[in-house]
């Protein structure tokens, strides 16, 4: 977003032209196609998109935890200037947890049912720090207190099934924070939770982010959650970034046909009874990506060029970029006038 500055300053995380593919029986699936973004310390970045948009795969690529069929086929992921796609497994396992941590959507399945919470928490601590025995236990209790769990000592001795969904997600967050990472990736952290519990967890993430000063990447399909939490937003569709900018820019001044469509298809708080305007068609099949803009098949303003060439990313203003040929057309017409 700040191009002149980025030359001088090193970003905490810099993803450059990332390509990730899955090699399946039906061929190579291009899940992420040329995604680039930067993340600075203390920033909350939201990645929003529908299923199949490549938002989770982008997150998993950063963590290098793709399924066995998945592979980063191009681009760089620079953590403090060092390209982690070239690291070996030993270096990566140090990196995971210590530098970057992730919390997943489903707190029910991300904890091991046959070990106590304490056992699983101290495991993470022992793995990444030199704390052992009592020290590790105390640290775990401290973490549970940090994420707002009452009676942490008792909770440590309990198994995951004795905790509710919200509690488990808190435990997951505690585990992710065990080594005070610089970056926390939250992949749909509240999708499986009820609204009142969701509010608690979002508040907790916000509070911890301020307290610990880490950067957060929030991956979600929920525009409400994004609006509430994020400084900067990336909108993805079909494995590419359509639009990026500050929260206010994306919500009040969208410049990509997909973002516009997405905002029209949810009820407007100021006018609840207004009829929704859906995006026509069905979500993209990433097995069969079009040559041009990924959104062209569902776009009302699709032009000839949209079918043939991928749109370039254009600056709308200093806090806002969009990849849509409509903007190029407008800029061109505006210039001619």
């Amino acid at each position: 977003m700040k191009d002149e500055k980025s030359l001088k300053k090193e970003h905490l995380l810099s993803v450059q032209d990332l390509h990730t593919s899955f090699f399946t029986d039906s061929g190579e699936v291009h899940a992420v196609n040329g995604v680039s973004f930067n993340l600075d310390p203390g920033e909350i970045l939201g990645i929003v998109g529908e299923s199949g948009s490549g938002k989770s795969v982008t997150a998993y690529s950063i963590m290098q935890i793709l399924a066995s069929t998945g592979k980063v086929t191009g681009g760089k992921i620079l953590y403090k200037g060092d390209d982690l796609t070239k690291w070996n497994e030993k270096k990566l396992s140090e990196f995971r947890g210590k530098c970057v941590s992730i919390i997943f959507q489903d707190p029910m399945t991300s904890l091991n049912p046959v070990f106590t919470i304490g056992n699983q928490l101290t495991e993470a601590i022992k793995l990444h720090t030199d704390k052992r025995g009592k020290d590790a236990w105390d640290r775990a209790v401290e973490l549970l207190t940090l994420v707002g769990i009452n009676e942490p000592e008792r909770r440590m001795r309990q198994y995951p099934h004795e905790h509710s969904g919200g509690m488990r997600q808190r435990v997951m967050i505690a585990m992710a924070l065990a080594c005070e990472p610089d970056i926390l990736i939250a992949d749909e952290p509240t999708t499986a939770l009820d609204v009142t519990i969701q509010a608690q967890i979002l508040e907790l993430i916000q509070e911890l982010q301020k307290k610990l000063g880490m950067a957060v990447i929030l991956v979600t399909h929920d525009l409400g959650v994004i609006a509430e939490l994020c400084d900067n937003i990336i909108v993805m569709y079909g494995g590419s970034i359509c639009e990026r900018g500050t929260g206010r820019e994306i919500f009040y001044n969208p410049h990509h046909e997909y973002t516009k469509g997405l905002l029209r298809s949810i009820p407007d708080v100021k006018n609840m009874k207004e009829r929704l305007v859906p995006i026509a068609g069905t979500p993209i099949n990433i097995l069969n990506l079009p040559k041009g803009c990924a959104f062209c098949a569902r776009c009302d303003n699709c032009m000839k060029i949209c079918l043939q060439e991928k749109p370039m990313e254009l600056d709308i203003n200093e806090n806002h970029k969009a990849s849509c040929w409509m903007n190029v057309k407008e800029a061109f017409e505006g210039g001619a006038r």
Partner: protein
């Protein structure tokens, strides 16, 4: 006064749960719920998971035999004996469009099954015509008729489910989380279709969902449930903008609004703790363990729903 299309009186649904080798306890999934729905109206039913909203929908259609209470359809009680007749007037659309359609049946057979069951056609041509009419109604093409459910996307499958529900020409449909499995852009397509069908066919909906924005958008009235009981009911705007019950207030304030300025200036009431287990329900008002205003009276008895003006009913001692 006109008879409402659906009237639910003191509906109770208890499930026996084995809690030990010889011990069973009663789980009160729905506990003394009453409401009514007029013809062509949409009642939204909201609440957190486990509050019994799905059970209300299912008990209403006698998919579960109610423990107590009755359901009246146009003034006539729904019983075991007149169920086949009643099911022609009341139908259901399920949440998961992936598991609610038989993978071994073609679309034509799925939509045609209710027609077969209720023998609503004279000959094969009429059956086929009806199916094509229904498919057209929900925006499916005629050539889709011979395909199987797995060939369709989530949104299209939900359309098949809706066509199946509409096949018997019902006056009332229970929609149990019909859009929550769909992507945002597809949700809007299905919501618009529900609205169009209501205008066209005059069906009434019980719209069960946890997405409060969607429910507010589609519903005329909303009922809020907490642990098997209705705690507040009124027009969609009343419940959303001028909610009275402390639970509704915190629920509404917890909804993330896709509007950065609006959502950040808003004061959020974050509830402490989790929903208590329905097996060990607190005495009196079930919400009192998480309520900011709870007093001694709340522990003694469940507050009744009282009218606060214009049909806006609230069950709370304090507010």
């Amino acid at each position: 006064m006109n008879t409402p299309l659906i009237e639910v009186r003191n509906l109770k649904q208890y499930f026996p749960i084995k809690t030990g080798l010889f011990k069973t306890e009663l789980l009160k999934a729905v506990d003394d719920v009453s409401f009514s729905i007029d013809a062509g109206e949409t009642l939204g039913l909201v609440g957190e998971s486990g509050c019994g909203k799905t059970t209300v929908g299912r008990t209403l259609l006698h998919l579960y035999e109610p423990t107590a209470g009755e359901v009246l359809f146009e003034g006539e009680p729904v019983t075991k004996d007149n169920l086949p007749k009643m099911r022609q007037k009341m139908q259901m659309v399920f949440q998961d469009p992936y598991s609610s359609l038989d993978p071994r049946m073609t679309v034509e057979d799925i939509i045609g099954e209710p027609l077969d069951v209720h023998k609503l056609f004279e000959n094969k041509k009429e059956r086929r015509d009806k199916i094509l009419y229904l498919m057209n109604l929900v925006g499916l093409n005629a050539e889709h008729a011979t395909r199987y459910a797995h060939e369709f996307s989530g949104g299209q499958r939900q359309r098949i489910g809706i066509a199946r529900a509409l096949a018997v020409n019902p006056k009332f449909i229970v929609c149990d989380e019909p859009v929550s499995a769909l992507d945002v852009s597809i949700q809007a397509q299905v919501i618009n279709m529900f609205e169009d069908l209501q205008v066209k066919l005059g069906v009434a909906y019980l719209f069960i969902a946890h997405d409060l924005l969607v429910v507010h958008h589609i519903s005329n009235r909303i009922a809020v449930m907490y642990l098997g009981k209705i705690v507040e009911t009124g027009t969609a705007d009343d419940v959303n903008y001028t909610s009275i019950h402390p639970y509704t207030q915190s629920l509404m304030s917890a909804v993330p609004i896709p509007d950065p300025d609006y959502t950040r200036q808003r004061k959020r009431i974050v509830l402490q703790g989790d929903v208590p287990s329905p097996l060990h329900m607190p005495s009196g008002c079930p919400f009192r363990t998480r309520c900011r205003f709870a007093c001694d009276k709340c522990a003694e008895a469940m507050p009744p729903l009282t009218d606060r003006g214009g049909g806006h009913q609230v069950a709370c001692w304090v507010k």
